[in-house]
Symmetry: C2
Subunit: 229 residues, 2 copies
Amino acid sequence: MDRIRLEKKVLSENDRLAAGLRDRFREHGILCLNLISSPGAGKTSLLERTLAELPKVTRVAVLTGDIQTDNDARRLARFGFPAKQITTAGACHLDARMVERALADWQLENLDLLVIENVGNLVCPSSYDLGEAAKIVLLSVAEGEDKPQKYPAIFLKSELLVLNKIDLLPYVPFDIARAREHARNIHPGMEILEVSCTTGAGLGDWLQWIKKRGEVFKAEAAKLPILDR
Amino acid sequence: MDRIRLEKKVLSENDRLAAGLRDRFREHGILCLNLISSPGAGKTSLLERTLAELPKVTRVAVLTGDIQTDNDARRLARFGFPAKQITTAGACHLDARMVERALADWQLENLDLLVIENVGNLVCPSSYDLGEAAKIVLLSVAEGEDKPQKYPAIFLKSELLVLNKIDLLPYVPFDIARAREHARNIHPGMEILEVSCTTGAGLGDWLQWIKKRGEVFKAEAAKLPILDR
């Protein structure tokens, strides 16, 4: 019981910090996306392809979470946009305080888009709000189509499912129609994109999704008052 | 600070229960293996292939952990050995109490081998002792060779690394020599097997590993006194 009470306390403190981040993102018109998947589903590869395609004038930055190593931030910094690693030193997810600290020396007024790559884990990150406008879940077709049933929380909380590594479809027993069905059983109306970061298939749809989501975000942000917390 | 103290308390309570399980496994001569990986690395497929190959007289049982669904237990029960699902209802790992409860109505004197398939998660299960003789980590070659560096705890604590889905090697950018090097940088002397549950490659080595590990376990158990806890 103590454990459950403490977990609730930690989560409610996280929610408070996340709400503050959300206000700041809204105030500065920054679309914040929280990218979640199992280890090795292709979050960093998707970000590499995304940063490579974006015009150099795009005001984008990335935060990338890992338990150990700054490999991902180094991979992403090559594209010339601000990229910072959050090393969690054992923690299985990012939380709002880590994001707040990582943003402390960035000028938010210079950004339109912030992509947060979470720790590779299909379970724990789903419980931690980072102030994002949308969670996005990536699933590699090498992982199997049953994952939405087995890990429902993240599929329920994500606006978008990106089915990645579709170039491997001929070699793995993955039924893409059933994967879509499983995802929509958990989350009716969930948007789903099919992508390969190796061949580039579907990347145009993904960039289009970000663009549209940014427009929706700005329209909504303009309508809402900035709350004083 | 409260959170860290409570986490320590939870882990030390888990250690106490796990030590009790370890004594019982030793007393009954049961080799217990704790199988850990990301979602979709192939734990259930490896167990399917293993159960299919074992002689029907083998005294083996499996416990399989998932957040939701009893899909895996149903897949594994087809082979005629005892198989039970532990549904964690949100928890990101199995703990010793869940294992203790699941074993309550099984006759341990009828078993020589117990394989526990943990929740799909490369992070949290590494912190929870289940009384096993050995942790085994599976890594699918579709996940990338950098995983030992990024998720060091589980590679440090596992006796054996099973590199699975090697049939996909021609189609993915996975350098198997570097994966071995990364794993052994974290855990010098770690045993490593290469397996494909699709083609059957390497399964003989895996079955041989289990057989030898069982012999070592029995020899060690015979030497140690049963502790009264």
